[in-house]
Subunit: 338 residues, 2 copies
């Protein structure tokens, strides 16, 4: 049932993330140790639930950005490891709460923690991981990094609330949708990258460059995620095609197909998205309408455009293998899931 759309050129995305993986390999081992260490608690349920998610094979893209940014600016201390682990904990906490809010049954191809341990434990362990993240950041002792990431924590929550308020609402504009993903997804990408520079106390123009890189990469990443929900391949994606559709999420492909559709198509979108009345064949029809109106293609084109902004944001840095790896990962985010 998965309709696989070739996204961009037929590049192998595993090749475009390889330079970043190589660059951060040693540090990531340290981060993984720290993550295991800080997910420990005398309260048994906490490590059980935390490990379910931590071990589930996420890409750890966000902490990688922190490490890469620290290396790009020539940071020679070891605090970036703790900052990166805190970033991953913030992300994990968000996933736990997201699954409760979205009532998701799966996450990364495994049963969602809330299905195994309940919504209550997911809420509370998320809170614990967020608390641990701030504890680690306090240990690092950089107020600049604490400012960036406490700001991200509040903005992410704001974005999630915006998304909740926009749920099932087909009147959502592309601008409103962009504001949502800027907050709920791009804020942590942005904070992750900027923190890597802030820990080295780099000048403001470098921090701004890293922040812009992370932000635009995050927007591109989320746009592709939204496209893949209608055009991806379930096996590679680790989530079911049509999850967003079933949850009535108003993402860009839906917004475009709705706005570009005729009256009878809009009646269809209202029934399935706003009223949640989904019948056999509706997902396939939705995907067909999206292709008819170039909704997926436009979404990917937008992602490419944000990817270009991310690339240009790094222009102020001298050419080096770190910069190259950070640019290559933009292609990975856009071409992934082939």
């Amino acid at each position: 049932m998965g309709v696989v759309v070739p996204i961009g050129e037929a590049r192998d995305p595993s090749q475009s993330i390889k330079p970043l993986l190589d660059l951060v390999a040693t540090d990531m081992a340290g981060i993984n140790r720290l993550i295991l260490d800080k997910a420990i608690s005398d309260v048994e349920l906490i490590p059980q639930l935390a490990h379910h998610l931590i071990d589930s094979g996420g890409k750890r893209l966000r902490p990688m950005l922190t490490i890469a940014a620290a290396k790009l600016v020539g940071y020679d201390g070891d605090s970036h490891i703790r900052v990166a682990a805190a970033v991953e904990f913030m992300h994990t906490a968000t996933l736990l709460h997201d699954d409760v809010v979205d009532e998701s049954d799966e996450r990364r191809g495994k049963k969602a923690a809330r299905i195994l341990w309940g919504n209550q434990a997911s809420v509370l362990v998320g809170d614990f991981l967020l608390g641990q993240a701030f504890r680690m950041l306090v240990d690092v002792g950089s107020l600049a990094v604490l400012r960036i990431l406490s700001n991200a924590a509040a903005v992410i929550a704001e974005g999630e609330v915006m998304q909740l308020a926009a749920a099932k609402n087909l009147a959502t504009t592309e601008d409103e949708y962009l504001a949502i993903i800027d907050a709920k997804t791009a804020a942590l990408f942005s904070g992750a990258a900027e923190s890597g520079g802030a820990i080295a106390a780099r000048p403001i123009e470098e921090l701004t460059g890293l922040k812009s890189y992370g932000r635009n990469l995050g927007i591109a990443f989320q746009l592709i995620d939204d496209a893949l929900d209608y055009a991806g391949d379930t096996k590679n994606l680790g989530k079911e095609i049509g999850d967003d559709f079933r949850e009535g999420k108003v993402t860009l492909p839906v917004i475009l197909a709705y706005r570009r559709g005729n009256a009878s198509e809009r009646t269809f979108w209202t029934r399935v998205i706003s009223e949640g009345d989904i019948q056999e064949g509706d997902l396939e029809h939705a995907i067909a309408l999206m292709h008819q109106h170039d909704a997926i293609e436009t979404t990917i084109a937008r992602a490419r455009s944000y990817g270009t902004i991310a690339r240009d944001a790094l222009a102020i840095f001298n050419d080096c293998s770190e910069k190259q790896a950070m640019q290559d990962v933009i292609a990975f985010c856009i071409d992934r899931a082939h």
Copy 2:
């Protein structure tokens, strides 16, 4: 239906909190302004939901402790206002998540936010308020205070998870129960008081004194809360008698009545608490068994004992009106709800 048990001497508790209220009155006005200011967001749902709780007439006991502690140690800056507001935001975030976890219908005599706006919004607005709390603390810029309160955030969540794991489990010991309330309730009382000293960069023995005061006051406060759930007066309490009973919470009155009861009584407790099979008259029977075994009286005696520890923790400070107000509020916490 409320069985009102006289707790301690028939003192008027409003008299024992009056010195503290007078002491902090000016600063609390500043805190209230700051709370209103920081609960603002372009995302409409956030101030709506935050105000529902913020305006609902909580006592703001925790931020008062921060202010009182700062005054006790002679702090002459104005950062204690922001720290106190952050403490109240942390508390509000916890209440929002608690109501979701406990599936509560009411909070402070009003419909719970989750009933009005849903569990999803309650989880996310709680996350937002926690993020705002850390932002405010970063603005203050004291790593000592950030350490105390990020630690409290993680410990509170741990305590909540412990409580969840102990739910309906009558094998919970008094020690285990104390460890739970030490974490879920006393950690924020403790952090609130210690922060008031830390913002003034006071010596370690004063910080330890404030920490111990807050911790033991918090334990006493929670023990009385648990006693009131079986012996309070619904009107004054702002919650229904028997809420804990209906949720199968294993609090100290239950632990004691169960342990002191005979085989047939234990069968009763197992049915109502562990199996959640509650019938007409069961709450009254539970209360009668508690009185028969002095379970409420013992719980209150324990609270008094922690109150004494809290009082003694302040011994290192010179006698002054601030110290007197902080000691008087111990009596308020123990004698309240008459």
